[in-house]
Protein backbone atom coordinates (compact mmCIF):
# COMPACT_ATOMS: atom_id res chain seq x y z
CA UNK A 1 0.00 0.00 0.00
CA UNK A 2 2.81 2.41 0.72
CA UNK A 3 5.07 1.89 -2.27
CA UNK A 4 4.27 3.89 -5.32
CA UNK A 5 6.69 2.23 -7.72
CA UNK A 6 3.99 0.61 -9.84
CA UNK A 7 1.76 3.63 -10.26
CA UNK A 8 1.41 4.73 -13.86
CA UNK A 9 -0.25 7.91 -15.03
CA UNK A 10 -3.01 8.14 -17.58
CA UNK A 11 -3.82 11.47 -19.20
CA UNK A 12 -6.99 12.52 -20.92
CA UNK A 13 -8.77 15.68 -21.97
CA UNK A 14 -12.54 15.70 -21.79
CA UNK A 15 -14.55 18.52 -23.38
CA UNK A 16 -18.25 18.85 -22.63
CA UNK A 17 -20.47 21.50 -24.21
CA UNK A 18 -23.97 22.53 -23.22
CA UNK A 19 -26.23 25.40 -24.17
CA UNK A 20 -28.49 26.53 -21.36
CA UNK A 21 -31.65 28.64 -21.59
CA UNK A 22 -30.33 31.15 -19.11
CA UNK A 23 -28.07 34.19 -19.09
CA UNK A 24 -24.34 33.77 -18.45
CA UNK A 25 -24.93 35.51 -15.10
CA UNK A 26 -27.41 32.85 -13.99
CA UNK A 27 -25.21 29.97 -15.18
CA UNK A 28 -22.20 31.50 -13.45
CA UNK A 29 -24.25 31.94 -10.27
CA UNK A 30 -25.17 28.24 -10.34
CA UNK A 31 -21.43 27.48 -10.07
CA UNK A 32 -20.71 30.23 -7.60
CA UNK A 33 -23.35 29.32 -5.02
CA UNK A 34 -22.68 26.26 -2.87
CA UNK A 35 -26.42 25.84 -2.26
CA UNK A 36 -27.03 25.82 -6.02
CA UNK A 37 -24.15 23.41 -6.64
CA UNK A 38 -25.53 20.99 -4.07
CA UNK A 39 -28.84 21.08 -5.93
CA UNK A 40 -27.55 20.31 -9.40
CA UNK A 41 -24.17 18.64 -9.05
CA UNK A 42 -25.33 15.34 -7.60
CA UNK A 43 -25.21 13.03 -10.63
CA UNK A 44 -27.83 10.47 -9.56
CA UNK A 45 -30.53 10.29 -6.85
CA UNK A 46 -28.62 7.90 -4.57
CA UNK A 47 -25.51 10.08 -4.72
CA UNK A 48 -24.57 12.43 -1.94
CA UNK A 49 -22.29 15.44 -1.57
CA UNK A 50 -21.29 17.61 1.36
CA UNK A 51 -18.94 20.58 1.66
CA UNK A 52 -16.53 20.79 4.59
CA UNK A 53 -15.24 24.08 3.24
CA UNK A 54 -16.26 26.37 0.39
CA UNK A 55 -14.28 29.41 -0.71
CA UNK A 56 -15.30 30.61 -4.14
CA UNK A 57 -12.54 33.16 -4.79
CA UNK A 58 -9.19 33.12 -6.58
CA UNK A 59 -6.87 31.06 -4.40
CA UNK A 60 -9.81 29.75 -2.38
CA UNK A 61 -10.26 26.10 -1.52
CA UNK A 62 -13.34 23.88 -1.53
CA UNK A 63 -13.22 20.62 0.37
CA UNK A 64 -16.03 18.28 -0.59
CA UNK A 65 -16.98 14.70 0.12
CA UNK A 66 -19.11 12.79 -2.36
CA UNK A 67 -20.12 9.35 -3.54
CA UNK A 68 -23.07 7.17 -2.64
CA UNK A 69 -25.29 8.66 0.09
CA UNK A 70 -24.26 5.86 2.46
CA UNK A 71 -20.65 5.76 1.36
CA UNK A 72 -19.12 9.15 0.58
CA UNK A 73 -15.76 7.69 -0.25
CA UNK A 74 -14.47 10.47 -2.48
CA UNK A 75 -12.72 13.50 -1.06
CA UNK A 76 -12.22 16.40 -3.45
CA UNK A 77 -10.02 19.44 -2.95
CA UNK A 78 -10.74 22.19 -5.45
CA UNK A 79 -8.51 25.25 -5.69
CA UNK A 80 -9.85 28.16 -7.71
CA UNK A 81 -7.11 29.48 -9.99
CA UNK A 82 -9.06 32.07 -11.92
CA UNK A 83 -12.56 33.49 -11.71
CA UNK A 84 -13.95 36.00 -14.17
CA UNK A 85 -17.63 36.59 -13.32
CA UNK A 86 -20.04 35.43 -16.03
CA UNK A 87 -17.13 34.46 -18.29
CA UNK A 88 -14.94 31.70 -16.88
CA UNK A 89 -13.80 29.64 -13.92
CA UNK A 90 -10.49 27.73 -13.79
CA UNK A 91 -9.85 25.26 -11.02
CA UNK A 92 -7.45 22.54 -10.00
CA UNK A 93 -9.03 19.47 -8.49
CA UNK A 94 -7.56 16.61 -6.49
CA UNK A 95 -9.75 13.59 -5.88
CA UNK A 96 -8.94 10.82 -3.42
CA UNK A 97 -10.89 7.63 -2.79
CA UNK A 98 -10.55 6.13 0.69
CA UNK A 99 -7.39 8.16 1.22
CA UNK A 100 -5.70 7.16 -2.04
CA UNK A 101 -5.27 9.79 -4.76
CA UNK A 102 -7.23 8.91 -7.90
CA UNK A 103 -6.81 11.95 -10.11
CA UNK A 104 -5.55 15.50 -10.42
CA UNK A 105 -7.36 17.66 -12.95
CA UNK A 106 -7.35 21.13 -14.40
CA UNK A 107 -10.97 22.12 -15.04
CA UNK A 108 -11.86 25.16 -17.15
CA UNK A 109 -15.47 26.33 -17.42
CA UNK A 110 -16.22 28.96 -20.07
CA UNK A 111 -19.49 30.83 -20.53
CA UNK A 112 -20.39 32.51 -23.82
CA UNK A 113 -23.63 34.34 -24.53
CA UNK A 114 -25.60 32.74 -27.36
CA UNK A 115 -28.59 35.02 -27.92
CA UNK A 116 -30.58 34.77 -24.69
CA UNK A 117 -28.91 31.48 -23.88
CA UNK A 118 -25.43 30.58 -22.70
CA UNK A 119 -22.99 28.22 -24.31
CA UNK A 120 -20.95 26.54 -21.60
CA UNK A 121 -17.77 24.62 -22.34
CA UNK A 122 -16.19 22.46 -19.64
CA UNK A 123 -12.68 21.23 -20.39
CA UNK A 124 -11.16 18.72 -18.00
CA UNK A 125 -7.50 17.82 -18.31
CA UNK A 126 -7.23 14.72 -16.19
CA UNK A 127 -4.16 12.96 -14.87
CA UNK A 128 -5.37 9.69 -13.37
CA UNK A 129 -3.25 7.52 -11.11
CA UNK A 130 -3.24 3.89 -12.11
CA UNK A 131 -1.44 2.03 -9.39
CA UNK A 132 -1.51 -1.51 -8.11
CA UNK A 133 -1.25 0.05 -4.64
CA UNK A 134 -4.71 1.46 -5.13
CA UNK A 135 -6.16 -1.89 -6.07
CA UNK A 136 -5.61 -3.09 -2.51
CA UNK A 137 -8.04 -0.45 -1.29
CA UNK A 138 -11.05 -2.23 -2.77
CA UNK A 139 -12.95 -5.04 -1.20
CA UNK A 140 -16.32 -5.99 -2.54
CA UNK A 141 -18.33 -7.00 -5.56
CA UNK A 142 -17.27 -6.62 -9.12
CA UNK A 143 -14.38 -4.32 -8.22
CA UNK A 144 -12.74 -7.18 -6.38
CA UNK A 145 -13.14 -9.43 -9.41
CA UNK A 146 -11.71 -6.76 -11.67
CA UNK A 147 -8.86 -6.16 -9.30
CA UNK A 148 -7.94 -9.82 -9.26
CA UNK A 149 -7.83 -9.65 -13.01
CA UNK A 150 -5.76 -6.49 -13.01
CA UNK A 151 -3.23 -8.01 -10.63
CA UNK A 152 -3.00 -10.97 -12.97
CA UNK A 153 -1.73 -8.66 -15.68
CA UNK A 154 0.63 -6.46 -13.69
Amino acid sequence: MTTDTQTRMLHDTIVMERTYNASPARVFAAWESVEARLRWSVPFPEAGAAYDQAEFKVGGLDIMRCGHKDDMRYLAHVRYLEILPDRRIVMAERVAECGEIRAASLITIEFEPAGKATKQTVTMQVSAFDGSDMLDGYSTGWTAALDNLAKEFE
Binding site: L10, A30, Q120
Partner: protein, 116 residues
Protein backbone atom coordinates in the same frame (compact mmCIF):
# COMPACT_ATOMS: atom_id res chain seq x y z
CA UNK B 1 -17.93 4.75 -26.65
CA UNK B 2 -15.97 4.19 -23.47
CA UNK B 3 -19.17 4.56 -21.41
CA UNK B 4 -20.84 1.79 -23.43
CA UNK B 5 -17.89 -0.52 -22.86
CA UNK B 6 -18.07 0.34 -19.20
CA UNK B 7 -21.80 -0.47 -19.05
CA UNK B 8 -21.10 -3.86 -20.57
CA UNK B 9 -18.33 -4.52 -18.07
CA UNK B 10 -20.59 -3.50 -15.18
CA UNK B 11 -23.41 -5.68 -16.48
CA UNK B 12 -21.11 -8.64 -17.09
CA UNK B 13 -19.71 -8.48 -13.58
CA UNK B 14 -23.04 -7.78 -11.86
CA UNK B 15 -23.75 -11.51 -11.67
CA UNK B 16 -22.13 -13.72 -8.99
CA UNK B 17 -21.84 -16.74 -11.32
CA UNK B 18 -20.06 -14.67 -13.95
CA UNK B 19 -17.76 -13.19 -11.31
CA UNK B 20 -16.91 -16.70 -10.14
CA UNK B 21 -16.13 -17.67 -13.75
CA UNK B 22 -13.89 -14.64 -14.22
CA UNK B 23 -12.09 -15.31 -10.96
CA UNK B 24 -11.48 -18.90 -12.01
CA UNK B 25 -10.15 -17.73 -15.41
CA UNK B 26 -7.93 -15.13 -13.78
CA UNK B 27 -5.90 -18.09 -12.49
CA UNK B 28 -5.46 -19.44 -16.01
CA UNK B 29 -7.34 -20.65 -19.11
CA UNK B 30 -9.93 -23.42 -18.72
CA UNK B 31 -12.21 -25.48 -20.93
CA UNK B 32 -15.96 -24.88 -20.72
CA UNK B 33 -16.49 -28.13 -18.81
CA UNK B 34 -13.72 -27.28 -16.33
CA UNK B 35 -15.34 -23.91 -15.88
CA UNK B 36 -18.79 -25.46 -15.35
CA UNK B 37 -17.65 -28.14 -12.89
CA UNK B 38 -17.65 -26.07 -9.64
CA UNK B 39 -20.83 -24.23 -10.62
CA UNK B 40 -24.22 -25.63 -9.69
CA UNK B 41 -25.78 -24.73 -13.04
CA UNK B 42 -26.43 -26.46 -16.36
CA UNK B 43 -23.98 -26.37 -19.25
CA UNK B 44 -26.34 -24.26 -21.42
CA UNK B 45 -26.55 -21.73 -18.57
CA UNK B 46 -22.74 -21.64 -18.42
CA UNK B 47 -22.65 -21.03 -22.17
CA UNK B 48 -25.09 -18.16 -21.75
CA UNK B 49 -22.96 -16.53 -19.07
CA UNK B 50 -19.89 -17.05 -21.24
CA UNK B 51 -21.61 -15.24 -24.10
CA UNK B 52 -22.23 -12.21 -21.85
CA UNK B 53 -18.60 -12.21 -20.72
CA UNK B 54 -17.42 -12.50 -24.33
CA UNK B 55 -19.63 -9.60 -25.46
CA UNK B 56 -18.24 -7.43 -22.69
CA UNK B 57 -14.72 -8.22 -23.85
CA UNK B 58 -13.70 -9.63 -20.48
CA UNK B 59 -13.34 -13.19 -21.67
CA UNK B 60 -12.46 -14.69 -24.99
CA UNK B 61 -13.05 -18.27 -26.10
CA UNK B 62 -11.36 -20.35 -28.75
CA UNK B 63 -12.35 -23.72 -30.10
CA UNK B 64 -9.47 -26.12 -30.66
CA UNK B 65 -10.65 -29.49 -31.95
CA UNK B 66 -13.62 -30.45 -29.79
CA UNK B 67 -12.62 -28.35 -26.79
CA UNK B 68 -13.59 -24.71 -26.30
CA UNK B 69 -10.96 -22.98 -24.18
CA UNK B 70 -11.80 -19.82 -22.27
CA UNK B 71 -9.35 -17.20 -21.07
CA UNK B 72 -9.47 -13.66 -19.76
CA UNK B 73 -8.95 -10.93 -22.31
CA UNK B 74 -5.86 -8.94 -21.34
CA UNK B 75 -7.17 -5.78 -23.02
CA UNK B 76 -9.35 -4.90 -20.03
CA UNK B 77 -9.95 -1.34 -18.96
CA UNK B 78 -7.36 -0.32 -16.43
CA UNK B 79 -8.37 1.27 -13.17
CA UNK B 80 -7.47 4.74 -14.42
CA UNK B 81 -9.38 4.24 -17.67
CA UNK B 82 -12.42 3.20 -15.67
CA UNK B 83 -11.98 6.17 -13.40
CA UNK B 84 -11.88 8.62 -16.31
CA UNK B 85 -14.90 6.98 -17.97
CA UNK B 86 -16.86 7.14 -14.71
CA UNK B 87 -15.95 10.78 -14.22
CA UNK B 88 -17.04 11.69 -17.71
CA UNK B 89 -20.35 9.88 -17.23
CA UNK B 90 -20.93 11.59 -13.89
CA UNK B 91 -20.06 15.04 -15.26
CA UNK B 92 -22.34 14.57 -18.29
CA UNK B 93 -25.19 13.87 -15.87
CA UNK B 94 -24.29 16.81 -13.66
CA UNK B 95 -24.28 19.22 -16.58
CA UNK B 96 -27.68 17.92 -17.69
CA UNK B 97 -28.94 18.47 -14.17
CA UNK B 98 -27.63 22.02 -14.31
CA UNK B 99 -30.02 22.58 -17.24
CA UNK B 100 -32.89 21.26 -15.09
CA UNK B 101 -31.79 23.45 -12.23
CA UNK B 102 -31.66 26.56 -14.43
CA UNK B 103 -35.13 25.79 -15.83
CA UNK B 104 -36.53 25.18 -12.35
CA UNK B 105 -35.10 28.42 -10.97
CA UNK B 106 -35.98 30.57 -13.99
CA UNK B 107 -39.25 31.77 -12.39
CA UNK B 108 -37.63 32.23 -8.97
CA UNK B 109 -35.23 34.67 -10.57
CA UNK B 110 -37.17 37.27 -12.56
CA UNK B 111 -34.43 39.89 -12.34
CA UNK B 112 -32.33 37.59 -14.56
CA UNK B 113 -28.79 38.81 -14.99
CA UNK B 114 -29.23 41.81 -12.71
CA UNK B 115 -28.38 40.07 -9.48
CA UNK B 116 -24.68 40.79 -9.96
Amino acid sequence: MQAVALDRTFHALSDPTRRAMVQRLARGPASVSELAKPLAISLPAVMQHLAVLETSGIVRTEKVGRVRTCSVEPKMLTLAERWIAERRESWERKLDRLADYLDATASENDNDGESK
